[in-house]
């Protein structure tokens, strides 16, 4: 049963469209993340679900019934705010009990439910503490308890870990995931941190400029980014220009600008013909000294020159340039102590599996225009 459904949801502010006709269905019990850079509309989307912002257009359904236009207190949704928004004049118990009191839950039940919730968020016995006596991480847990104690159908979290230091963030990420599993409530999580989104979510919606670029499981979004934006936003990626040469059953061949031809599964092509971007993640590439290359079984291969190699402990990263000047980054895990790094200036052969190849639409108009003038000038010269 879908827990939440957004239909053509749009929010326009003065002279600016924050959220642009998005459609989305989130299933019950999912940990769903809205991921994107600041200003992409993810928080506005969350605020519309919570009832803090009225959509300009579109509909919001919670558990099958429409809630568009309802005030926050009439929605079975609770929110963990970015700044926690804990009431400073109340102690921990009264903060957590605030929602239950509004629902006129009996005093004894309030007490036991607050107690139980503080156990779940790992703050047992903190009832009488004042908010300003708590650390950032503890405040974050109280904010979570205050929302979850109401047993909402849906919990909204607006960058709740943004104010914590890195180590605490990592701990809280796992903690949040555990708590979500324990309570079984649907979480909608807003973040700009791609690693955080991937660590915690069942599914991720990558947002940009008010619309969804791609919605899918973390692996899908990372391994097979649908657009240039997604490939660039989630981790490092290499994109090479090319033109579709042939589609032969399940396999397609693309002629790269720099000369080589690469293969990839045909169902990954965004179009059947024309110019596209061919991508591959840095850790999927095999790097070899060109002189010692063994032309291994990996079908896709290009030639490049190493410009810089950087040792980072776990791995070594190589910044290479292809013959047409495109940058390609390669990560190689440091497996053995004897592994000799390839120095700058070395000619190398970069190869990878067709299975690891993805394709995105070329959207960068300005670059296309630039290419056209370049070819025109070449034509003039010949």
């Amino acid at each position: 049963m879908p827990d939440i459904r957004l239909e053509g949801l749009t929010k326009e502010f003065k002279e600016m469209v924050a959220v642009d006709h998005i459609d989305l269905t989130i299933e019950e019990g999912e940990f769903f993340s809205l991921l994107g850079p600041s200003g992409c509309g993810k928080t506005t989307t969350l605020r519309m679900i919570g009832g803090f912002e009225d959509p300009t257009e579109g509909h919001i359904y919670l558990g099958g019934s429409e809630v568009t236009g309802l005030p926050p207190y009439k929605r079975n949704v609770n929110t963990v705010f970015q700044s926690y928004a804990l009431f400073p004049h109340l102690n921990v118990h009264d903060n957590v009990a605030y929602g239950l009191k509004r629902k006129k839950v009996a005093g004894d039940e309030i007490k036991s439910r607050v107690h139980e919730m503080l156990d779940i968020v790992d703050l047992p016995g903190y009832e009488q503490r004042r908010i300003n006596q708590l650390s950032g991480g503890q405040q974050q847990r109280v904010a979570l308890a205050r929302a979850l104690v109401n047993r909402p159908a849906l919990l909204l979290l607006d960058e709740p870990l943004g104010a914590l230091d890195l180590k605490l963030r990592k701990t809280m990420q796992l903690e949040l995931k555990r708590i979500q599993g324990d309570v079984g409530i649907t979480f909608v999580y807003v973040t700009h941190d791609q690693e955080e989104a991937m660590t915690m979510s069942n599914r991720i919606a990558v947002m940009n400029a008010g619309h969804f670029e791609q919605v899918g499981a973390p692996q899908d979004v990372y391994e097979l980014p649908a657009t240039e934006f997604v490939s660039g936003f989630l981790g490092a990626s290499n994109l090479l220009e090319g033109e579709i040469e042939s589609v032969n059953g399940p396999t397609a061949k693309v002629a790269l600008e720099l000369g080589a031809t690469v293969a990839l599964p045909a169902d990954r092509l965004p179009t059947r013909q024309g110019r596209i971007g061919i991508g591959v993640r840095p850790e999927k590439i095999h790097i070899q000294d060109a002189s010692a290359a063994d032309a291994s079984s990996r079908a896709n291969a290009i030639e490049a020159m190493v410009r810089m190699s950087t040792y980072t402990g776990v791995s070594t990263s190589y910044e290479c340039r292809t013959s047409d000047g495109s940058p390609v980054v390669v990560y190689v895990q440091n497996l053995g102590s004897s592994s000799v790094s390839i120095g700058a200036g070395t000619r190398v052969r970069l190869s990878w599996d067709p299975e690891h190849t993805f394709a995105v639409k070329r959207v960068a108009k300005a670059e296309d225009d630039g290419d056209k003038t370049a070819t025109a000038m070449e034509g003039a010269r010949t």
Partner: protein
Amino acid sequence: MTEMATATATQPKALHRASAWLHRRPKLRLGMLLGPPMAWMLVVYLGALTLLFLTGFWSQNVLTAEVQRTWGLENYQEILSSAAYRTIALRTLGIAFAVMTTDIILALPVAYFAARVARPTTRVLLLLSITLPLWSSYLVRVYAWRVILSGTGLLNWTLGKLQLGALDIEYSNWSVWIVFSYLWLPFVALPIYTALERVPTSYIEASADLGAKWWLTFRRVVLPIAFPGIVAGAMFAFALTLGDYIVPILAGNTLFIGNVIYQSVGVANNVPFAAAYAVVPAVIMGVYLIGARKLGAFEAL
């Protein structure tokens, strides 16, 4: 060339040495910084208060009206035993509380609207209209109210037009109450506005998110958080009413604490009695401030 260099170098050197010397003596530095304002506070304010209190123990020669610098409790005894002075003190206290309460009730909705609902332009206009009266003379405003409240004034003219009869409140405690409430409203409204404006929007959203409607959010979240600011604002109305003697003269027909003091000094030349009676509002204010402190009003200033 070298001479010039040494000449310019010596002065900074001396300064450097002095600043280094001071740097090693933080207590002396603190004393030098706090000395002047503390001296001001002690001499001008507390000193004057103490002198006032002590003057109250002197007395006035009944025949010559000269001040006799002999110690005695007569003034304080008279204030405590005389029903008239007790009535005046209680009347002043009562009006001060009434004015304070009225101003809070009038200021809260306006301040809330300006702080949390109004758009920026409306907000500026509202705040301007609240503070605008302060730009005109206090006396002009009091006389304006006398015109409004007089038997044939605007108030009765309006009531007559509405077929509601007429009110005879000219020169009464009612008119004193109304004029005081009007005069001190800006002093109450501005601190309340600041207090309400400082309540983070996320608290209000969180309260709504947890199931509270507007009124409950106002009562359970906004009001408790803004409360110290409200007490701070109310303090102005209370203290200013307690000390004023012009409005009772111009708009009232009874005596207030200020009038008794004014008459004792100006008419009767009985400074010791005036001093003793001036201790009454000082004590009331002291009790009020202790109460306000308990309520956390000073953290909001």
